[in-house]
């Protein structure tokens, strides 16, 4: 579904992403981990059309999307959320989600119905009429997911939707991510919370200094020497997680 061929992104002298190749199949739930500055978000920005890579190609569903504007990639069915959430602050939650739904459903009435469905799915029902900027962070993260989901993506990139949440909120959003995956949406998630990642992802890719240094199932990643040295610090015990 998504293929990265040796993608490189530089900022001046800094290489943020170096020759990363990746294959994501329909139905995958791929995790991306790595220390701060490893190039995870930069990789998302390249895939979703916010940065044009200096080298390499990005293919989505048979289309070469390298360098296409973000809105065209989104219309092909590939969208993303933002690590630093970007709600339409002065609009209601319902209107935020509706703007996403209007991409597929040009009629306002249809989009409103779809938005209501997605809002319920994401557990935002009681807050539908609240102004987006008034929401606490956990709900703003959910809104970010809901809005992207309303565009009916086939591949959704989730950038740290769990960061900064308390354990209860975390459990809720893990559940939501599972449900979205269960609806047939292919997912790539960036996350720092290893416990959640280990339980959620089918496959994990580790980035370090812009390079892919490991890829495998959560089990193999947890015991990978390079991953432990660069990121985990000690072996991650899946049984305890």
């Amino acid at each position: 579904m998504l293929t990265l061929e040796s993608v490189t992104k530089r900022f001046g002298g800094l290489t943020a992403v170096r020759a990363v190749s990746l294959e994501v199949r329909a139905g995958d739930l791929l995790g991306i981990i790595g220390p701060n500055g490893a190039g995870k978000t930069t990789l998302f920005n390249v895939i979703s059309g916010y940065y044009r890579p200096e080298e390499g190609r990005v293919r989505f569903d048979g289309h070469d999307v390298t360098g296409l504007p973000a809105h065209e990639i989104s219309r092909l069915g590939l969208t993303r959320t933002f690590q630093i959430v970007k709600p339409f602050g002065n609009l209601s939650v319902a209107d935020n989600v509706m703007i996403g739904a209007l991409t597929r459903l040009p009629r306002v009435r249809d989009a409103r119905v779809e938005a209501e469905r997605v809002i319920a799915l994401c557990g935002l029902g009681p807050h539908a009429r609240a102004r987006a900027r008034a929401l606490p962070i956990a709900l703003r993260k959910r809104l970010e997911v809901a809005r992207a989901l309303a565009t009916r993506p086939r591949l959704l990139l989730l950038d740290e939707v769990m960061a900064g949440l308390n354990p209860a909120e975390l459990a809720g959003i893990v559940d939501l991510v599972r449900r979205i995956h269960g609806e047939g949406v292919t997912l790539i998630v960036i996350e720092h919370i290893m416990a959640a990642m280990m339980r959620l992802a089918q496959r994990i890719v580790m980035l370090h200094h812009g390079e892919k240094i490991a890829e495998g199932t959560p089990q193999t990643i947890a015991h990978d020497r390079r991953v432990i040295d660069a990121y985990l610090g000690e072996e991650f015990n899946l049984a305890e997680a």
């Binding site: 219309r75 993303r80 970007k86 609009l91 703007i99 991409t103 306002v108």
Partner: protein
């Protein structure tokens, strides 16, 4: 049939009152005031399409106003043709100029965009002042009065209804932007362009469209203003004062709301007319004091109603809902 929302009721009252005024009053001072309130309201509505709904705050909309004014005035004064043809020519020119400004909006954000629009209007002012052979320079262009609709030589009552139609057009366009797909997408662009892109909205194209429509309407209003007032000179029609007035009415009334520009215009236009009539002139002893009072009122409004007059209404409504809940 659903119940009419409060702001629609207010709109009904405002436009209804304007429509019945000529049936009750024949005083030209009153008719003139109503015409100007509607015209400045329509112009702010046109500005609001770009500034309020799409978030592209321009302080150079006098550029489009001036293009329209000159196109109509020159078409009738210099070529002896119908000012309607001038209006059409002005709209076409403003679409071109609007596309250019729209392109700028994709390069420049916020204050930089606003500054570039000011510069654009200033450039046109200089061109119109210096190109004597064509525009008659800073002397200005008197518009010949030839009675008739085609030549736009109309009485006050006919003008009032013509401008009312224009105002309703601007109002209807804004209502469309409040409830249509395009309107929602523009709100997304205004709130956060990156997020809008991720949702599949062609943000650059939408911004250019909004500015072009806004420019075309502003130009049409400018053409009619020129015919109504009968005189066009570059230092007025391209002035920053006008650009600020378009923005100010909308900001005072409520940016990004259909009714806001008209409420703003009612307040600002009548305040200005009243203050000027009461406090200016040698007799009053304080030349220019009306400007000071005017300024203080503006400060008070911005201090106590930062979201405009429609914002106050929304806040009161929210409070009463809260009280009943």
């Amino acid at each position: 049939m659903s119940r009419l929302a409060p702001d629609r009721w207010v709109a009904l009252v405002v436009f209804g009152a304007a429509a019945v005024t000529p049936l009750l009053i024949r005083d030209t001072f009153i008719l003139d005031s109503v015409i100007l309130i509607l015209l400045w309201g329509a112009l702010s509505g046109a500005w609001n399409v770009a500034g309020g709904y799409a978030g592209q705050v321009s302080l150079g909309h006098a550029a489009f106003f001036g293009i329209g004014a000159y196109a109509a005035a020159l078409m009738s004064a210099r070529y002896g043709q119908s000012p309607w043809l001038g209006l059409a020519a002005g709209v076409l020119l403003s679409i071109g100029a609007g596309a250019m400004i729209g392109y700028l909006s994709n390069r420049l954000k916020g204050p930089y965009f606003a500054l570039s629009t000011i510069a654009f209007a200033e450039v046109l002012k200089i061109v119109a002042s210096r190109w004597r052979g064509f525009t008659a320079g800073s002397e200005g262009v008197p518009v010949p009065f030839r009675p008739g609709f085609w030549t736009l030589g109309l009485g006050h009552v006919a003008w009032l209804y013509l401008i009312l139609v224009l105002a309703l057009l601007c109002y209807a366009l804004q209502i469309y932007l409040e409830r249509s797909r395009v309107g929602y997408q523009l709100a997304g662009v205004r709130e956060d362009e990156d997020a809008a892109e991720a949702l599949g909205i062609a943000t650059r194209r939408r911004k250019v469209q909004a500015i072009v429509v806004s420019a075309a309407l502003t130009s049409a209003c400018g053409s009619l203003w020129a015919q109504y007032v009968g005189f066009v000179d570059p230092s007025h029609v391209f002035s920053i004062d006008l650009s600020v007035r378009f923005a100010l009415n909308a900001i005072i009334g409520g940016m990004g709301t259909a009714l806001g520009p008209f409420l703003g215009s009612i307040l600002i236009t009548s305040l200005e007319t009243y203050l000027r009539a009461t406090f200016s002139g040698i007799k009053a002893g304080f030349t220019g004091i009306y400007l000071i009072i005017y300024g203080v009122v503006l400060i008070l409004i911005v201090r106590f109603a930062p979201e405009g007059l429609t914002g106050i209404a929304a806040r009161l409504r929210a409070r009463s809902v809260g009280a009943h809940a």
